[in-house]
């Protein structure tokens, strides 16, 4: 099976996936890891701001809003077949 990954930005509201890897480097990468986005972590898209950005995600029991420029750098593996887009 091929690794079916896509950017966290593309996860549609109500769906969840698992963190596959982070594209971010340096301090942004560290920040994402500190927020709990470690590979293997389950992430659920909760809601999107009326302006379309940022989006709130449920990460390890806490809801965290991420801007698109940041969530774009998180690669997600779909859980079962819940692939948004």
């Amino acid at each position: 099976m091929s690794k079916n990954t896509f950017a966290l930005t593309q996860l549609s509201i109500g769906n969840s996936g698992r963190v596959d890897s982070l594209l971010a480097q340096g301090l942004t990468r560290r920040r994402l890891l500190d927020l709990g986005l470690v590979p293997g972590t389950e992430v659920e898209a909760i809601r999107r701001s009326p302006a379309g950005d940022p989006t709130a995600f449920l990460i390890r029991g806490t809801i965290i809003a991420l801007r698109e420029e940041v969530s774009r750098q998180v690669l997600i593996r779909a859980e079962s077949d819940e692939r948004g887009i």
């Binding site: 340096g26 301090l27 560290r30 920040r31 890891l33 500190d34 927020l35 709990g36 029991g61 806490t62």
Partner: protein, 264 residues
């Protein structure tokens, strides 16, 4: 009788008049992720005698209060919640600068028993700075409701610092927390925190930088921690370091350059 009163006078001379055997005030910092019940712990320990004060150079407030335990006077500093010491916002800066540069006698990291894994990241970062840490596994009442068991003894063994399970809302086990704080702050209990070991390449670099910066650092600043931050290249913390060290001696910009040179 005469002898007794004589000893008392002698003692009171050494301390503030009117207060018997008043020891040194100990400062305890309360850190932790947002919403772990830091302020509940704070209020439960201090009985809500809090007043707020400004941390120099910052507009964001921290709360201070006091309590007496085992006949010792403690000042408790409630810090804004933070996920990491790699500060991203003004209140995270307050928490970071306090833990890194104010040298409290002990730091209590309040964690949420219902999502420990998220919280332990901060614990690991704090024990990288100071060994004087107590982990407070709070919200145990909520964890029990969710059928979550926390093996506090193993946690304590793994981390190398004392861990205490509490439910601050109902005041459960706060006496144990105070005992642990006292043991660590007084130095009675020597902790041996389990430090994160980085890749061999990083560790080599850390050793190299530590050799260079150790003579430049004042006592109380952990050279390993400073070396790691220099490798991170986090300018906000390098600037904070330079400000902290610049007080009293050479200008901060000069120091910053010196530090930058050390990483080459």
């Amino acid at each position: 009788m005469a002898l007794l009163s004589h000893t008392c006078t002698k003692n009171s001379c050494r301390y503030r008049p009117g207060v018997q055997n008043q020891p040194r005030r100990m400062t305890i910092a309360l850190a932790g992720n947002p919403n772990t019940g830091k302020s509940t712990v704070f209020n439960a320990l201090t009985g809500l005698h809090q007043h707020t004060g400004n941390w120099p150079g910052k507009t964001v407030q921290r709360a201070e209060g006091s309590f007496v335990h085992r006949n010792k006077y403690y000042i408790l500093v409630d810090l804004p919640g933070t996920y990491s010491l790699l500060a991203n916002s003004a209140d995270e800066h307050v928490a970071r600068d306090y833990i890194c540069f104010a040298h409290p006698d002990a730091t209590v990291v309040v964690t949420d028993a219902t999502c420990l894994e998220r919280n332990l990241n901060l614990v690991l970062q704090v024990i990288e700075i100071t060994p004087r840490v107590v982990v407070c596994v709070n919200l145990m009442d909520e964890a029990e409701r969710k059928k979550i068991c926390v093996d506090v003894e193993s946690l304590s063994r793994e981390l190398g610092v004392p861990a205490v399970a509490t439910a601050a809302r109902s005041g459960r086990c706060l006496d144990k927390l105070m005992d642990a704080i006292d043991n660590v702050a007084s130095g009675q209990l020597k902790t041996s925190p389990r430090l994160v070991a980085y890749d061999p390449g990083i560790e080599q670099l850390v050793q190299k930088i530590m050799l260079k910066i150790s003579p430049l650092l004042p006592e109380g600043l952990n050279p390993r921690w400073v070396a790691l931050r220099l490798i991170d290249g986090d300018h906000s913390i390098i600037d904070a370091l330079a400000r902290y060290l610049g007080e009293g001696k050479n200008s901060s910009s000069h120091w910053g350059e010196e530090m930058a040179l050390c990483t080459r």
